[in-house]
Each structure stands twice: as C-alpha cells, then as structure tokens.
C-alpha cells in the first residue's frame, strides 16, 4: 500500500435494516469490539426499503464505498423483504457494472442481530478494500459537474 492510500480515509455509508444488522451493530457496541470510524449507519425498517437510488445518492454525495446489510435469508422480520432486496441488487449490480460504475465499492452482507463480531469485521474489511481502491474520484467528478458551465470558463 502506498502512502497516499494509507492516508486516504474512505467515507462509507452503511444501509442496514433495523431488525438484524442495526441490532447486530448494537451488539458490537455492547461487546465493546472496536472498528474503523469510516462507516456511518443509516437505519431502515428492512432491506426491502432500501431504494437503489439512495445508494446512487450516497455516491453522488461523496461516498467512496457503501455497505448494504440485512437479515440472513429466512430471518427477515417481515419474512421476505430481504429476498426482494436481494433480487433488486442482482439486477441493479448487473446494470451498474454494465455502465462502468464500480460495483466493488458496494458491499452486501447478511449480519444478524447476534453477529456483533461479524459487523466489526464487515466494517474493517470494507474500509480496507475501499482504501485500497482509493477515493471514488471519477464519480465525484461528474457529480457536481455541469459541462457547459465548466467547459466554457477560463
């Protein structure tokens, strides 16, 4: 790892469901397991609620990486929200990849309410991988760019 990458602190947003992963992350806290500070958690009732547009918005707002995490299959509080989400992500990932959006920056996990230790690993691993990929400059560059305005100026 070169120095730039080491100095780079990725900003990561975690989209998690209330019943499994949010509770699992609570357990990480209760267990006092330490992990990287780079991840900020947004609580949703269910992975089924996580709109794919919100992931794009996180990138547009400057996220370098994204975690999406919910209940393991068959554990969903609402029985099938995670199954719906899974199918949505299959299609979404395929499309993003075809567009050349870096799907390696979106990490999907199942973390149950009992997997406090797994949550810490998930965060640390994601941070390490995104750090290795570097900042998502190519996306940030187009995020606030208005061609005519910028191209026509000195």
């Amino acid at each position: 790892m070169d120095e730039n990458k080491a100095a780079f602190e990725p900003r990561i947003i975690a989209f998690v469901c209330n019943w499994c992963t949010y509770a699992g992350a609570d357990l990480t806290g209760t267990s006092r397991i330490k992990y990287a500070t780079n991840v900020e958690i947004v609580r949703f009732p269910c992975t089924g609620r996580i709109d794919f547009m919100l992931l794009l918005k996180a990138f547009a707002a400057g996220a370098d990486g994204i975690i999406v995490s919910g209940c393991h299959p068959n554990d969903c509080h609402y029985t099938s929200g995670n199954f719906h989400a899974r199918r949505r992500w299959i299609v979404f990932r395929g499309l993003l990849d075809f567009l050349g959006i870096d799907v390696r920056r979106i990490h999907y996990y199942w973390v149950s309410a009992a997997e406090g230790a797994k949550w810490a690993e998930v965060v640390n691993q994601t941070v390490a991988e995104i750090r290795e990929l570097g900042p998502y400059t190519e996306y940030k560059k187009v995020a606030n760019y208005i061609e005519e305005t910028e191209a026509a100026h000195e």
């Binding site: 794919f52 547009m53 899974r86 299609v91 395929g94 993003l96 075809f98 567009l99 187009v142």
Partner: protein, 266 residues
C-alpha cells in the same frame, strides 16, 4: 385501396370502432408515422409494412386522445401487440376497449380481441433478435470497467433530457414520473452527466421485467444515444438470473425466489 383498408374503413363507417390508430406515409419515402383515423376516408391513408416501427401502444394510455365511448382499433405490429399485452397485465387497458389488429402478409386482417389471442399471435410471430444490438452489448461487456464508464459518461453527457425515450415508451405511463418528483428531488432535473446517468438507471430499472424490447426509446432519441442497450442488457441479465418466464402476477422485482443467487452477499 387494400382490402384491409376497406375493412377498416367499413368498421369506422358502421361504428364498430370509433377510432383507428395506425400508420401513414411519413415526410420522406423512408418513413411512416402514426395516424389517427376518425373516419372511413382517413382509413385510405393507412399503410402497414416494414417501415412501421413506431410503437403505437404508447397512445393506448393517453386518455385525452381517445374518444370517451366506443372501441378503438389499432393496426398493430408485433411490438405494439407485445406492449399492449404488458399494459393489460399492468391494469392499464380496460378489457374490450381496444381492438388490436394485425395485418398478415397478404393483407389479411387478424382481429385479436383479448389477452389470450394476443399471447398466441405473439408466440406465433417471434421477432428475431437484432444481432447488431447483441454485438454492441458484447463489445461493451468486453471493455474494462474504466472503458465502460468512459463510454457511457461520454455518451450520456450528450443527453439533453428531452425525455423522448420516456415519451415514446408505451410502458412509461406514470402519471408522475420519478424525475418530476421533487420531494425529494431524486434526479437532478438539468441535463448533465450524472443526472443523465441517474435518469437512465431509473428508466432502465423501472423497465425490469417489463421491457418488451421494441427499441422505441432508441428510435425516439434525437441524439441517437444507444440507450436501448441498457434495457436490452437488463433483460439479458434478468433472463439469465430468473429465466425468461415472467411472473403471472406482479413483476420480476416484486417477486422473488428463495433460490435467487447471492454469491455477491457475504
């Protein structure tokens, strides 16, 4: 006057249908355009041949254009029929409101009064896959991720957000499109690279399992941006992951299988 023109003129004259939507000669000999026939005289202008590429199903959800009473005839291509069938499944076409008609090779008019007859006709008239589209998709697939991003960034930066792709699509019938929702402003409303990419991602995701592959979006684009590759690619992915059968009720993305792949979820 073809025999089928005469048949349609008679239908208009005797009130079997109040309106017929079809095609007429366009501005240049190379193209045709949609035609609304309100009377038997207009029916003489109807044509049907390989130049008829507009997806007329787009008009079936435009209530303001359609007479309040009576049936509406549509001289349809297979693409129109496919879209019409999808519209039926999505509760957008009242039963019996439209009389879809196909013109056979010898000018034979086939009436397709219900969903089942549509299904049979479509099954009997499969449309060949466009090898150029498949080749383009393969070309893009073969690129590195960075090249793909550069390709689409360059391509979609040109988009002017005229929404012709949306307007020409029979399945883009939302009363309020997501781009018109500003609470929150899901997609920035001006034309620049990211908002353009986001718009296409939304358009394509919303087509998941619904797109019939007619290519009207591409045909309508005044800048000739190859946005149909996105919907086609999505359809390929869906077919590969979930099979070519669509759920009888609901949509590919509002249903699931417990066995859907999850090799990307850890």
């Amino acid at each position: 006057m073809n025999n089928w023109n005469k048949q349609i003129a008679d239908m208009l004259a005797d009130g079997t249908v109040a309106l017929v939507i079809g095609y007429e000669e366009g501005s240049t000999p190379q193209k045709t355009r949609p035609l609304f026939c309100h009377d038997a005289v207009a029916a003489e202008r109807l044509v049907m041949d390989g130049r008829c590429t507009h997806n007329l199903a787009v008009y079936l959800t435009k209530k303001e254009l359609l007479p309040a009473e009576g049936r509406i005839g549509v001289v349809a291509t297979v693409n129109v029929l496919k879209s019409a069938l999808q519209l039926m499944q999505e509760n957008q076409i009242p039963e019996g409101r439209f009389l879809l008609m196909a013109v056979g090779p010898e000018g034979k008019l086939t009436e397709l009064p219900d969903a089942e007859s549509l299904r049979q006709y479509i099954a009997a008239h499969p449309l060949p896959d466009n090898p150029e589209v498949a080749a383009l998709i393969e070309k893009i697939d073969a690129m590195s991720r960075e090249e793909r991003w550069a390709y689409w960034q360059e391509c979609l930066s040109k988009c002017v957000k005229c929404y012709a792709c949306r307007a020409a699509c029979p399945l883009c019938y939302c009363t309020r499109c997501i781009v018109e929702d500003n609470r929150p402003q899901w997609i920035l409303p001006w034309a620049s690279t990211l908002p353009n990419i986001e718009w296409q991602i939304n358009r394509v995701m919303h087509m998941a399992g619904r797109c019939t592959g007619c290519g009207a979006c591409y045909a309508a684009c005044p800048l000739h941006l190859p946005i149909h590759l996105l919907t086609k690619k999505l359809t390929q992915e869906i077919n590969r992951e979930f099979g070519t059968e669509r759920p009888a009720k609901g949509n590919v993305l509002s249903t699931f299988s417990p066995d859907d792949k999850e090799n990307f979820i850890h």
